[in-house]
């Protein structure tokens, strides 16, 4: 922990003291050093390479233990933060002129601190060191979120985030303290001892609440749709891509040590996650703020990951290794996949936002012609996040289905019911995600621009395009050759989560994945073949262009195009019982011969937030406001209060109550 703080202070001081230009370079240097060192550590753990004894001793003395799980998360964090940093170089360029120099430097320093603290979170086992790293992570991400402090609502979203994270930390702290009973310290390593002696579900629930606040499970999610739109896009990408995954890391780390109650924990986690996923994607479809939409999709994906963890715990509880290993593997692979395509989507959305200066999808349209690379990146991200082949999202969802269907054949009635419900939710989540991303991609990138622009938007700058290319490569590789990654991952998860059971035979998992590879490659080659045929055909008969079909009417304006609202209209009526979506407008009066300007406004309210979170909170605030009567601001009254208190103490002492 000492080293952690030393690193933070050194990087902070150096960065703040550096010049305007050099601060970016210094950040790049520090970051590459960090990425190299931590990735080296992670890779040597994963590939069983020998680490020099001195380094091992040093790490152990610093309280750092790197196992397979930490190593995986280190690689995920490093990759996303690095591409996020490259992106930020391009993204922040227009802001550097308008923001104070010190503020931008602080932003880069906070980015570094966030990186270092996230690495520390996955490496520390001691509870207090872990919590310190956790806290630094929260604070530095808070600084990152409020970069555009002068925009409306940014500070509020940031403070909302900060407060909620501290509530979460309180839960984790409680959980640690309770679980340290009977052992000499507060640590993840003591959990197994505690769990073997006490009932498991209470402490798991505490941990789950704390970590779930970071991850964004249902009812713990309200900070997400606020903070992501407020933050700069690379920060949203990093936060949604990896930081919320550390909540998942925490849950995985705890579930590793579970000893009892696993049946209950597994099933309830599955159901809760399925509801989370459904809620996230159902809300996402109705959002017109592109970053808010992506934020709700993070909730959906956390739900999918949660289903995987639930399956894993359930499988371990019932001794079904296949269900357990594929569930855990699916969850971890989806964590990796989501970090790739979600950062990709946030980066692409950010490029569009920085060109069009709006986050409202209804004012976009036709961007693909002006920003082809960004559009392609967003398309790949959309197909991947909707879980469609040929990209990586399909592989992790396939693993989860695999796990579900492996369990469904040999079950009792109640688990069967739960498995079927979870399966149906997963199918619905997939279908809704297709619906949602077909909508957002089409509305933003296809058709004609809906709003007149002074000049056509230019393609994003080079650093931003490079940052988008980085995640695309693994997205394609995992999608086309899943065997490469799922094989080692399955061995790793069966080693971590089911150490006692028989070694897991990967073959049952790898054969289908090979077939999937064959299918994907076949699909691409058939497509390529047809494309060549088409090119040949077009050489002989050059295509001509004409007007879009409009029933013979050729002067349709761009504003007549279908909008996101009209695309989701039927869906909106269908889900009205669950999601209250309203429209407000003032209708025309009959005597208005020359109608004036009118406004039309649609909104979709997060019922959970307003009914379950905000209502009690508002009640509490009202209560406190009543209590504030005693706060009169007159010195005499305060002296009176002090005297009354003394009298009270005196009486209580006399009565021997205190």
């Amino acid at each position: 922990m000492f080293y952690l703080i030393a690193i933070l202070i050194i990087t902070g001081v150096v960065l703040l003291a550096a010049g305007k230009k050099s601060s970016v370079i210094i950040t790049a240097l520090f970051l590459s050093a960090g990425v190299t060192a931590s990735s080296w550590l992670a890779l040597s753990e994963l590939l069983n390479l020998a680490i020099p004894v001195e380094i091992v001793e040093f790490l152990t003395s610093a309280g750092i233990i790197c196992d397979g799980l930490s190593a995986l998360f280190i690689l995920i964090i490093s990759f996303t933060v690095f591409s996020g940093f490259i992106y930020s170089v391009g993204y922040l360029k227009p802001y550097v002129r308008t923001k104070p120099e010190l503020w931008t430097k602080l932003h880069y320093a906070a980015l570094l601190w966030l990186y270092v603290s996230m690495i520390a979170v996955v490496l520390f086992r001691n509870g207090f060191a872990f919590l310190v790293a956790w806290e630094i992570m929260t604070v530095s991400s808070f600084v990152l979120v409020i970069y555009e402090y002068d925009k409306k609502g940014t500070i509020q979203a940031g403070i909302n985030y900060l407060v909620q994270m501290h509530v979460g930390m309180l839960f984790i702290l409680f959980a640690f303290i309770i679980s340290s009973e009977g052992s000499d310290g507060v640590s993840f390593d003591n959990l197994r001892y505690y769990f073997s002696r006490n009932s498991n579900w209470l402490v798991f629930l505490l941990f789950f609440t704390g970590f779930g606040l970071k991850a964004g499970f249902l009812l713990l999610h309200t900070w997400l749709p606020e903070a992501h739109p407020a933050a700069p896009s690379h920060v949203s990408g990093i936060m949604s891509g990896v930081m919320i995954k550390l909540g998942i890391y925490g849950i995985l780390r705890v579930s590793m040590s579970l000893q009892g109650d696993m049946y209950v924990i597994g099933t309830s986690l599955m159901v809760f996650s399925a509801v989370t996923g459904l809620f996230g994607v159902m809300m996402a479809i109705l959002q017109h703020d592109i970053k808010k939409l992506l934020a709700y999709h993070s909730i959906e994906n956390i739900g999918i990951i949660g289903i995987g963890i639930g399956l894993g715990i359930f499988g371990t509880a019932t001794g079904n290794t296949l269900v357990s290993v594929t569930g855990y593997t699916g969850a971890i692979l989806h964590t990796l996949n989501h970090s790739l395509f979600k950062s990709l989507l946030f980066f692409s959305a950010g490029s569009v936002i920085s060109r069009l200066h709006t986050r409202n999808v209804e004012q976009m349209g036709g961007i693909m012609k002006y920003m082809p690379y960004t559009a392609m990146a967003f398309l790949i991200g959309s197909v991947a996040i909707a879980g469609l082949p040929p990209f990586n999202g399909f592989i992790s969802e396939y693993l989860l289905y695999f796990s579900l269907f492996s369990g469904i054949g040999e079950l009792e009635f109640y688990p069967l019911l739960i498995f079927s419900l979870v399966m149906v939710s997963l199918v619905l989540i997939g279908g809704l995600a297709v619906f949602c991303f077909a909508k957002v991609f089409s509305i933003v990138f296809l058709g004609q621009p809906r709003k007149a622009m002074a000049e056509p938007p230019a393609e994003a700058g080079q650093p931003m395009i490079i940052a988008k290319m980085l995640p695309v490569i693994p997205i394609i590789i995992i999608g086309a050759l899943p065997v490469l990654i799922v094989g080692p991952l399955a061995s790793l998860t069966s080693g971590i989560f089911n150490p006692s059971s028989l070694p897991f035979d990967n073959a049952i998992l790898l054969t289908p994945l090979r077939y999937i590879s064959v299918g994907v490659i076949l699909m691409v080659s058939i497509g390529a073949l047809f494309l060549i045929l088409k090119k040949v055909d077009e050489r002989r008969r050059p295509p001509v262009t004409g007007l879009t079909w409009g029933c013979g009417y050729g002067a349709a304006s761009a504003r007549q195009q279908y909008t996101a609202t009209s695309f989701t209209q039927e869906y909106a009526t269908l889900v009205r019982p669950v999601i209250r979506n309203g429209a407000s407008h003032v209708s025309f009066r009959e005597d208005e011969i020359f109608p004036g300007k009118r406004e039309f406004h649609t909104s979709s309210a997060d019922l959970l937030r307003s009914k379950i979170i905000m209502r009690p909170a508002n009640l509490f605030i009202n209560l406190l406001r009543r209590a504030a009567v005693i706060q009169t601001g007159r010195l005499q009254h305060y002296v009176l209060y002090a005297m009354l208190f003394l009298v009270l103490v005196f009486i209580l002492t006399l009565l021997e109550i205190i």
Partner: protein, 300 residues
């Protein structure tokens, strides 16, 4: 190979048969059985006309739609003949390839900036999403019933112990209804309608022409044959002689196509806003089937 050959063969026949049956039912002689194929051939020899708004999506995605469906057709069981690709959980890839081709069709519709096409796309997206659970619940039911793990084994094992033709008929009924939705047939959508505002599938291809339109039409034909072949596998026992199975398979496919043709002749389509109820009903029938399976397996 036999499996793939049979599917492709029947996909060529069914489209013409439906049109023919509809014509006869309405008192006309109607075009020849191979007229749809001739139409596609004509399309291939025509050049393309693109909307000036459309871009790279329109130029590539019809190809992807067809290639995804072709790969999906490799997994479909054909009355006991082993499909080329068959693995544990292949129905997931099957369903997701269908979803991928739907995604591509939707964004193609939006590429031309036409409100008509987007309107159809919106309906297609919603109905496609609502019908997916029906297929999955059906397959989950069959998995519980047979213990099979891939499409082919599930459908083959259905005919082993405890098989009753009632199962075959229920499965055929559910898949038949799913086909009506997935292939945009009456009562969900009328492929022969001429009013843009009431179309679903046909309106999405208004701005496609030549090569691209041929791709999309071939996709529809293939999709129809895929579902027909699922029905055939549900009712044809796998242990008959191969020649019998081949002839029965073709017979079932043709029967299915004529049944669709008859339905389209004598049934009117639903109001657009009733479609969701119809689709949800199919899902519920699927769930009912699942419950029946649980009873037969004494899981209650």
């Amino acid at each position: 190979m036999i499996a793939l050959g049979l599917i492709l063969l029947t996909s060529l026949l069914t489209a013409g048969l439906i049109v023919r049956v509809k014509s006869i039912a309405s008192g006309r002689r109607g075009p020849g059985l191979f007229q749809p194929l001739k139409n596609i051939w004509v399309l291939f020899r025509k050049g393309s006309v693109y909307s000036e708004v459309s871009g790279v999506i329109t130029r590539t995605s019809p190809i992807m739609v067809l290639s995804a469906l072709l790969v999906a057709s490799l997994m479909v069981p054909v009355a006991g003949f082993t499909p080329l690709i068959s693995f544990r959980g292949d129905f997931i890839m099957f369903a997701y390839l269908m979803a991928f081709s739907r995604f591509m069709m939707i964004i193609t519709a939006f590429d031309s900036g036409s409100s008509f096409e987007a309107m159809g796309a919106s309906r297609e997206a919603l109905y496609g999403m609502l019908i997916e659970p029906a297929l999955f619940v059906l397959i989950a039911g069959l998995t519980v019933f047979t213990g099979g793990t891939s499409l082919a084994t599930i459908f083959d094992l259905t005919h082993r112990e405890g098989y009753s033709y009632v199962f075959g008929l229920i499965v055929a009924y559910i898949i038949g209804n799913i086909t009506l939705v997935e292939n945009s047939r009456i009562p969900v959508d009328d492929p022969k309608t001429h009013l843009e505002l009431t179309m679903i599938h046909e309106v999405m291809v208004l701005d496609l022409s030549g090569f691209n339109l041929a791709m999309v039409q071939m996709t529809s034909m293939l999709k129809f044959a895929i579902f027909g072949s699922l029905i055939a596998s549900a009712v044809i026992p796998w242990d008959m002689a191969p020649a019998t199975r081949i002839s029965m398979f073709i017979a079932v496919q043709l029967l299915f196509a004529s049944a669709i043709g008859m339905t389209e002749s004598f049934r009117s389509r639903y109001k657009m806003n009733r479609n969701q109820q119809y689709i949800l009903t199919i899902s519920l029938i699927s769930v009912l089937f699942f419950v029946i399976i649980l009873f037969t397996k004494n899981i209650f």
